[in-house]
Symmetry: C2
Subunit: 252 residues, 2 copies
């Protein structure tokens, strides 16, 4: 059987330890092409570059077997340029991450990591976003490796339904309790804006916030992660609230 | 009864004719505060600014009754700073747009206009994104006004269920056939990258693409718009593909 073609990207940038860990695992199961941002793109959501140019150039970061390109765009741009310009054929799998930090619950909406996976899903490619609940640059990705390999292999073998990608989050623990399939917890951010004054006397702000879990369910990703399980949420990009259509019809 | 407090934002920037049209209508039904990007933010998806600063300053653009602030951030940033720093109380309604161009079908994922509405929804504020299928700066927003007023008034009176915002798109016609509640059409972009060479001899790309409607359903936003109806899609930000959870459970 032909070795699968695997596209790897992320949002922390092509040199991040998280993507290095992911590439290492993917090299074991397929032919790997990395097309990832040349700079950090956290919080970029599903942004695409339409008012400026993109560059995408071959690069060698380590001595692995993968082929790599460094791209000036967002994670979603990386997937678009990979599929349309760089790769000779449609990849069999797209993996994004491993993100340095959580993409559970409402984070999925802001996440560059997940937007790359969703973009691949839109293009009809089975896709997975991987994230570790550890923001530090020297986070330990070693305990994740066998689980990433197992989940990626499963998706390669089974495929995913049209319109669905996977959002996989790992708690920051040495030993996982197992894997739990979950729904996205209802949550939001309690924001606080830090107001400062610049050297010219003008005010500016830094955005910061703390995630609030508003969901008491025990079937959520937040609950699984708190209990040291790996969470797997099937994510769709049909955003229609189908259950409200009938009610809304009575309005017009 | 107290006049409702209405937050207005967009992604084409605070001086765009589309937001001016929206402000004009909102001034008829409530007290309006505008907090909108100081520059175009199309295609910014649900990006937020976490690696740089934000500015947000009072500004006067026209002689309407609204209060206005110009913000250096993305549409989602505008909503966050509005709710947490600028407004004295939670607004009764957030409206975003009117976007110069479509946010129907898969566009919702890339849309700055809709990300502002979704951000408001995450914060528990009833929210609507309005878009006109006309990219030109001097698009005619006049035929939209009475419909925008009717839909906004309806949302103010009835509210929206927790976790749902509305995505309203107007076809580019003088006379609408009516309003249709729809689901998001399955679609994607057929991209083409335009490869060029810069004055220093280095290659770069421009992303462009054409929407492909992959959906033959007659209950979609694309179908409604093609038939000159205003489309209204209820949009949710719980991205969980609930229908696939049971199946996925058998994997682990």
């Amino acid at each position: 059987m032909e070795r699968p073609l695997i596209l790897v990207t992320n949002d922390d940038g092509i040199t991040a330890p998280g993507i290095r860990a992911l590439i290492k695992v993917m090299n074991q199961i397929g032919d790997v092409v990395v097309i990832a941002p040349d700079s950090p793109q956290s919080g970029k959501g599903h942004a695409i570059t339409i008012d400026s140019i993109l560059t995408c150039n071959p690069i060698t970061i380590d001595d692995g077997e993968q082929i790599e390109y460094s791209c000036s765009g967002t994670p979603a741009d990386c997937v678009k340029i990979a599929v349309n310009e760089i790769l000779n054929r449609k990849p069999d799998l797209c993996v994004s991450g491993v993100n340095h930090g959580s993409n559970s619950s409402i984070n999925v909406v802001y996440s560059g990591t997940m937007s790359a996976a969703i973009e691949a899903g839109i293009e009809g490619i089975p896709a997975i976003g991987f994230s570790l609940l550890d923001y530090s640059w020297n986070a330990d990705f070693l305990p994740l490796e066998k689980h990433i390999k197992a989940i990626a292999t499963k998706v390669l073998n089974e495929g995913l339904p049209d319109g669905i990608v996977l959002n996989v989050n790992f708690p920051k623990v040495k030993e996982f309790q197992g894997v739990k399939v979950c729904r996205q917890a209802r949550s939001n951010y309690q924001e606080s804006f830090n107001k400062r004054t610049n050297p010219q006397g003008k005010e500016y702000y830094w955005l910061s916030g703390k995630l609030q879990n508003l969901d008491k369910g025990e079937d959520t990703d937040e609950f699984a992660l708190q209990n040291e399980f790996i969470s797997v949420v099937p994510v769709q990009f049909d955003l229609t609230a189908h259950h409200f259509i009938q009610n809304l019809n009575s309005w017009f």
